[in-house]
Every structure is written in structure tokens, then in C-alpha cells.
Amino acid sequence: MVDVPEVPLMGKVKGKSGPLARRPDNSAFKQQRLPAWSPMLTANTVLPFFYLMSLICMLLGVWLLLTVQSTQEIKLDYTEAGTCDICFEKRKNSSNAAQPCSCTLVFPIKKALKGDVFFYYGLQNFHQNLRRYMDSRDDGQMVGRKKNLKDQNGLPIAPCGAVANSIFNDSFILTYHGSSGPSVLVPLLRKGIAWYTDKNVKYRNPNNDNMTLVQAFEGTAQPLYWQKPVYELDPLDPTNNGFINDDLIIWMREAAFPNFKKLYGVLYRANQPFTKGLPAGNYTINISYNFPVQYFQGRKEVVLTTLTWFGGQNHFLPVAYLVTSCLTLLMAVILTVAWWKFGKNGKRMEE
């Protein structure tokens, strides 16, 4: 057999013939010889990293813990508390839905809440994350495309869907009874509490350049459980009326879990005595009790809390960081012992 003389090895040579004609290219890619870095997870490389990480986690955990400790939270369950159980009984009967009912809740604040104070309403056992509930909304309608309205008894409903229908409609008035002087109404800012993008882009009223909101919503009906139509949610402020009402927007952002809180308002700190937060003393909340919860064995509550950049009273993250730091340190120590005892592999291989 005659050998074809060796052709140059690098690169593809055209026009070969003979037994070497179909030899694959001698390129780095095709011969699997690409330049590469081959790291290895050995004790030498990993141990310093573990120690460093455990230190960082420890520092972070401690810092976060200190940050969280500086927040204060007050929770009040008012489902049946005090005078509210009359309303609770009343709301058991859905034919009373149109009748208002109010009750009061008295509570003390022992230590002043310094800084910005946030007022939340909370629900327990209300599954806003149920699939059919979450599907039951029309984002197209809420963004102002009027032609997406759906039919019910001949008139389309605005806003439609179960999410909007079940909007939380209790309202609260907070009063401060200082040791000196008369009772002062605690001013709460009820606007600007939703996501900027929600308020300004995702939710838009149907086009009403030269019409009032009432005219824009002409030909629609209010949702079944509502007591007033959507264009009367805040008649005094056109930027908070209709679909772009802050309360509605906040409610429409479905919570992830059955026990949740939603923002109701922020303390307005321009005037005395609230310039530094909520002073200590007795407070009264006057609740307009509308939302019935006994159908789903739920509870309602009111939460007052101060926040830091890190959020409210949530001890999970600092504790998790501290735990991770301890575990990492433990692992690092075990690894060091193992590495020391059983030989620094690679140096004492012949043992």
C-alpha cells in the first residue's frame, strides 16, 4: 500500500486524496484541545472562602438584626373586638350589606413610634392566590381599553372580575387622645401608596379628554358587592378616582399568601404633635365595618408599624444570615480538621 505523503498538519488542506482525504481538521475546537482553565474544589481553595463567607454573613446578620430591632409594630385584631362584635353579627347577614356599621377600638401606645408610621389593614385566611380568583380580572379593561368590558345583565361591569368585586371596604379614622388637650385626628396620607408604575401606566381610566369620569363610565354597572360605583371611589380628587384609585390598585395586587397586609395610609407628619411620629398615649380607631369575614373563617386586623430600609419586623433574614454564618464556620472547621488530619492531599500522596 502506498502512503500518501503527510500533508501539513495545521489547518484544512483542500484537494486531498487518498487514505487521508477524510481526516478531520486539526483545529483546536475539533480536536478538543481548546485552551481551558481547570479549576478544582480542593480544601486549599475552598477553606479561605468559607471563612471569609462566614465572617461576611456574621457581619451582615448582626447589622440586619440591629436594624430590625429598631422597628416597632402594633397589631390589633378587630374582627370581634369590643364594640365590633355587633357589626360582626350584623355582617353575617348579607341583606344588611347596604346598612353602615361602625365600631371603635381603643388602644394605648406605650412607646412612641418614631419616624414614619405606616398603617396597614390585614386579613387572615383570605386566599387572594386562588387560581380562579387570580384569573378573574381584566387587565385590559383596567388599562383603559373600554372595549374589553364584559357583560352582566346587559350592562358591562366596571371593574369586572372577582378580584375587584371583593375589594376591602373597611375604613379607619385614627384619633389621638393626648394627656394634655383635646383629641386630635391623626392625619393619614391615603394617596401615593401604590406602585408608581401601577398608578400611572397599568391602571388608566377609560379615555375621558373632554368628559367627566361619570360620562366616561356611562353604560357600565358597578360590581355586584360594591355599594357605590367606581367613579365615586374618591369624588374629591380626580387623580384618585375611577380605576386609578389607590385603594383599588393596592387591592388588585394579589397577595402571595392567605395571611397578608396591605397598606392603608402613611402618617402625615407636617403638623404637631406628629412631627416625630406617633407619640405615646391612648388612641381610638373608628372603624367603618363593612368587610364580612366569617364566611371564610377569617380575621381582620390593623397594624401600625415603623419601617426601615429593610422593611418591618421581620427577623427571618438576619437570623438566616447568622445561622448560615455559623454553619459555614462549622463546615470550615470540620474541613480544616479533616484536611489537617488526613494529609494535605497532593503533597503527601505517597503516604
Binding site: P39, Y120, G192, K202, F257, G311, F342, E350
Partner: protein, 434 residues
């Protein structure tokens, strides 16, 4: 050894023959008809452990044997193309079998076993949080992640890294694999796809999923988990909802499974870098785009701005970093401990390669690197540790010290000299003991 009466009547010497063959390291059969070749292969295939058989041949008479064996290799030889046409793999010369088996076969096994295990792992990590979420959403089949994420997870976000891994990965240098056939024992008997390893990957997946889900759960549940922003401007403390929760879990998920592959990759070419970091960047860019505009043709806008809001929150970043770390920690620890206490032959060779930085000379006996570790060596099939001191170890020490480049003839002479010396030393020791 005589067969029993019935056996000899029916001519059934198969069991005895098989028994004898299994006790030999090599069996030579000559003057075999094609059918008999196939029968031999069948006999071995049916023996007790059902081994994987390989048949190699170059002529038409080898065809039945090639077809019978699990892996049939044909040699393009002088006797025509019959064998090649019926084979699974075709090579031009017999000598190529060595590289094909020891290098390519070994690589493909490593790659495919990692591919299979990783695929199951990443899908367990993907779906288990959704399963856990059902306990909190009233068992109503509410998906945790948005539909776009559900669709694209296996297609775009996590597919390319493992694909490129399974094409390119080289856990040990090719030359070392060629030189030391005993490394093949590490993967013998399908060792990387057995139940213990598969269970390990599955449990790791379940653990990661639990960490991801409950880590995010405790962050969200009943707390005022918000994004930070200045008050009284348009971005006041915002509430996070269901889709933000799902997106947080999904972000941790994508980064965790990709970093798991990062930890498993031993051979980092530019392609690996490109694909891995590219996939992560693609995920981020896609999320930004998907939530960035009000899509005109969609009726639901539930992801609008969710990703950006999540990223603008300090606690979200901290928890992402923590959850990724917590998910990957056990695997890293396991790897390092196993490597330190019970290294496989493969890992020892990797150590040696790193130590000598590729300067292992052509004639360094790698047997000397198979030193049994103190803590025991009962790993994946590599049970060939010898406790007798290897006389050639002396030679390795010498090599380490000198490190000069010698010509092959010099090396060979050296080898012979050292072997004689070592043999003499052993003799002396034996005589001393007597």
C-alpha cells in the same frame, strides 16, 4: 472437569466454558466461524453480571459478532466495508481503539451521566416549589411562576449551559487518560448512573427547592416586605404580591442551578463562559423586557414592572444571595470532604496533574500516584489499591526533584536502572526479614 451425563449428551459445555473464561484475564479463540463468534459474545452477555460487551472486527465474518455485542466496532480494512456498515462505530485502524475507548468513551460517559443527572435535578428544583405553593394557595393549581418563565425555563434559561457541558467537558487531560487505563475503572458498571448517585442528586434538588421556597416564604409572609424608596415621593413603600414572590423564587432558581453547573465544570473554555454567563444575562434581560412594557396583544399584564420592583428592594437582593449560597453550600462541602477523605483515582490524578502542572513526564508510572489514602478507599469500582510499597515510588520522588527534560532514550535507561535498584532493595529487605 467433565460435564454431567446429560450435558455431554446434549453437547452442553457452555457453563463450564463460561466458568473457565471468567477466571481468565484473556481468552484466545481461533478458527471460529462467524456464528460461533456471535455465540461467544452472547454467552458473555448472558453471564451473571450481564456485562456490557464490545466486539471489534474488520471482516465480513465479524459482522454477526459485531451485531450481537452491545457496542460493535468495525475497522475499515482490506477486507471490505461489511464490518463497517454493520457497526456502531467505525475506525480506520485498530490502534485507534485505545483512544476511542479510554478517552472518548470515558468523556462521553462522564458527559452524559452529568447531563442526565443535571436534567432531573434542575427540573426537580423547578417544579417542587410550585408543588409546595399549592399548600398555600388552597390547592387550586395556581402556578407560582408566570407563564413565560414556565415555558422558557427549560428552553432558554437553563438549556445551553448543560448542552455545551455535555459537548466539551474534559474532567482529566486526554494524555493521562490514554496513559492510565485503570482510570476507566472509575466509571465501570455504570457507576455514575446508579441509584445512590441519582438519589443524591434528587435529594439535593428537593433540598434546594425547599430552601428557595421557604426562604422566600418567610421573607414575604405576614411582614411588610417592601422595596425601599423615599417617602412621599411616587415610590413610597410598595407592597409585593404573588407574582413578585414567584419571580423571586424563580430568580434564585435559575441562578442556583446555573451555579451548580459552574461548580461541576472542570474544563472552562471560552464557550463555557459565553454560554453560562450569557444564559444568566439573557434571563435578566428577558425579565426586564417582559415586564418593561404593556404588551398590546396580551390581556393580562401581571408581570408589568414586577422584576424591576423586586430588584429595587434591598431585602430581595440580600435574600437572593443568601438563598443561592445556602442551596449550594452542602454540595460544595460534600465535594471537598469526599475529595479530601475518599478521593477516587480520577481525583487523585487531577490532583497530581495540578501539582506537577502538566509536567508529568512520558515515562512517569502513574501506578505510583494511585497511593491508597489513609482514610480508606472504597469508591466507585476502583478497588485496586495495593498495600505493598511500590518500588517505583522512589523514581517519582527523583522526578519531582530534577524536573529536567530528558530524551526518551535517557528516560528509558533511567527507568531500567531505577527498577534494578528498587528490585535489589526489595531483595535486601526480604533477606533481612528472613
Amino acid at each position: 472437569m467433565r460435564p454431567t451425563q446429560e450435558d455431554s449428551i446434549s453437547g452442553n459445555y457452555k457453563e463450564i466454558f463460561l466458568e473457565i473464561c471468567r477466571n481468565c484475564s484473556a481468552v484466545l479463540c481461533c478458527r471460529m466461524a462467524p456464528l460461533q463468534k456471535a455465540q461467544i459474545v452472547k454467552l458473555i452477555k448472558a453471564s451473571k453480571e450481564h456485562p456490557i460487551t464490545l466486539a471489534i472486527g474488520d471482516g465480513a465474518n465479524d459482522v454477526s459478532m459485531i451485531l450481537e455485542a452491545h457496542v460493535g466496532i468495525g475497522i475499515m480494512g482490506k477486507e471490505g466495508r461489511q464490518a463497517v456498515r454493520n457497526s456502531d462505530y467505525a475506525i480506520p485502524k485498530f490502534k485507534h481503539l485505545k483512544k476511542m475507548l479510554l478517552v472518548h468513551g470515558h468523556y462521553y460517559y462522564i458527559r452524559i451521566s452529568e447531563l442526565v443527572q443535571y436534567f432531573f435535578y434542575k427540573n426537580v428544583c423547578f417544579i417542587f416549589p410550585q408543588f409546595l405553593y399549592q399548600f398555600f394557595c388552597g390547592f387550586s393549581q395556581q402556578p407560582l411562576y408566570d407563564t413565560a418563565y414556565l415555558t422558557l425555563y427549560n428552553i432558554s434559561f437553563t438549556s445551553l449551559p448543560i448542552l455545551l457541558y455535555s459537548l466539551i467537558e474534559q474532567h482529566i487531560n486526554m494524555d493521562i487518560l490514554k496513559k492510565d487505563p485503570s482510570l476507566y475503572r472509575d466509571i465501570a458498571k455504570n457507576s455514575l448512573l446508579r441509584w445512590p448517585i441519582f438519589l443524591y442528586w434528587t435529594i439535593l434538588g428537593v433540598y434546594d427547592a425547599i430552601v428557595m421556597f421557604f426562604g422566600a416564604y418567610f421573607l414575604f409572609d405576614n411582614t411588610t416586605f417592601t422595596s425601599n424608596g423615599q417617602l412621599m415621593t411616587t415610590n413610597t413603600q410598595m407592597m409585593f404580591g404573588n407574582w413578585t414572590f414567584g419571580t423571586l423564587v424563580f430568580t434564585v432558581l435559575v441562578f442556583t442551578v446555573t451555579f451548580k453547573l459552574v461548580l461541576d465544570t472542570h474544563y472552562w473554555t471560552w464557550i463555557n463562559h459565553f454560554v453560562i454567563w450569557g444564559s444568566l444575562i439573557f434571563f435578566v434581560v428577558f425579565s426586564l423586557l417582559w415586564g418593561g412594557i404593556i404588551w398590546p396583544f396580551l390581556n393580562y399584564q401581571r408581570m408589568y414592572y414586577v422584576f424591576m420592583q423586586m430588584l429595587s428592594s434591598g431585602p430581595a437582593w440580600l435574600s437572593i444571595i443568601l438563598l443561592i449560597t445556602a442551596s449550594l453550600l452542602p454540595d460544595v462541602v460534600k465535594k471537598v470532604i469526599w475529595r479530601a477523605l475518599w478521593p477516587t483515582t480520577t481525583e487523585r490524578i487531577q490532583n497530581a496533574d495540578k501539582l506537577y502542572k502538566g509536567q508529568l513526564s512520558e515515562f512517569t508510572p502513574l501506578a505510583s500516584l494511585h497511593a491508597p489514602s489513609k482514610a480508606g478507599s472504597h469508591r466507585r469500582g476502583s478497588g485496586n489499591e495495593r498495600n505493598v510499597p511500590n518500588p517505583r515510588r522512589l523514581w517519582l520522588k527523583r522526578d519531582k526533584r530534577s524536573r529536567t527534560i530528558r530524551s526518551p532514550k535517557e528516560e528509558r535507561d533511567n527507568e531500567v536502572r531505577m527498577m534494578k535498584k528498587a528490585a535489589a532493595a526489595v531483595m535486601m529487605r526480604r533477606m533481612a526479614l528472613k
